[in-house]
Amino acid sequence: MNTGENSHELLVEKALVGFDLAAEHHLAHCAPCQEERERVGEALREFGNASRQHAGQPEIFWEQQAARIRAGSTERAQRSRLGLTLAPGLAVLFLVAFALLSREPGVRPAQPPTAQVDSDHELLVEVERAVETDTPLSLEPATLMIEQGDSKENSISTNSGKEPGSHEN
């Protein structure tokens, strides 16, 4: 295929695509190109006709398709209405929740539960335990010393209480 033939074909294709001044000018003086345009144009028209015929459907098909579209549009409209109805309620709910949360100073972290201790009761239990427990043997002399110390103090205090009376005598 030489360049000349190529340029003829290009011009025919340009003419088939749409109006092209150079192509139209060439075709006006070139009979083979005119024929070629007619031939290809006819084939494309046949192609268009065949395609349209193929896509043709019986009337019942279009009826059913339209019915399905109608049902689909109704469904989507209902869904959209439902959304519009629920949206204000959800918005109010959200605002109330937000207001409640913002009123609190803040969410405090959960503190571990502390055991409640009654200090008086604890002390009482300790005293009882100490009273009931025998004094260890190693501590006995000390205990005696304390007891002796206590008895001396008592005797001194008794004597000192009698002295003023002797002076009186």
Binding site: V17, A43, L44, E46, Q53, I69, R70
Partner: protein, 190 residues
Amino acid sequence: METALTPALGATAHNLTAEEFDAIVRRHQRRVHRFLLMMVRDAEEADNLTQECFLRAYQNMSSFRAESSLETWLMQIAANLIRDQARNRKVGFWRRLLGLRDGEGEEWAEHVAAPEASPEQSLLAREEVRAVWGVAEQLSRQQRAVFLLRFVEDMELHEIAAVLGLQVGSVKTHLFRALQTVRGRLRDQR
């Protein structure tokens, strides 16, 4: 490409009644379905996409501006659906793998030629259409869309540009390349 409903639609797009929408469906469903069928070459898929096209139109009717005709707007939605569908390559992959498209060109070619045509003429026409379909299937999605909108839907270049969101110059380029491919392949087959 004005339609009877287009002028009224501009004012009442927000308050479209079910009857008005139904009238729009009935007026445009054939063309939308045909374009989708030719692009996807699957009757069930084309039916589903046609429904989706009109449902999307219904949902977004408020966004319709009367700058383009209603039909062009619907075809734009259809073209977008095809593009979205093309992104989902899985279906196409399995379809090709299972060879489900084999023989479709022959089925289409059966519709060619008027009943009054001679057997020879019918045969010739069927052969040519089958060959064109065979080649058209191999075009890129964009080229095929331009080719079909031009030669099956008889759309003007500026209408095709509006539907596919292209410049008129790009439409010309796509169409020119598609024609070159179709003619070249047909020549090789002869």
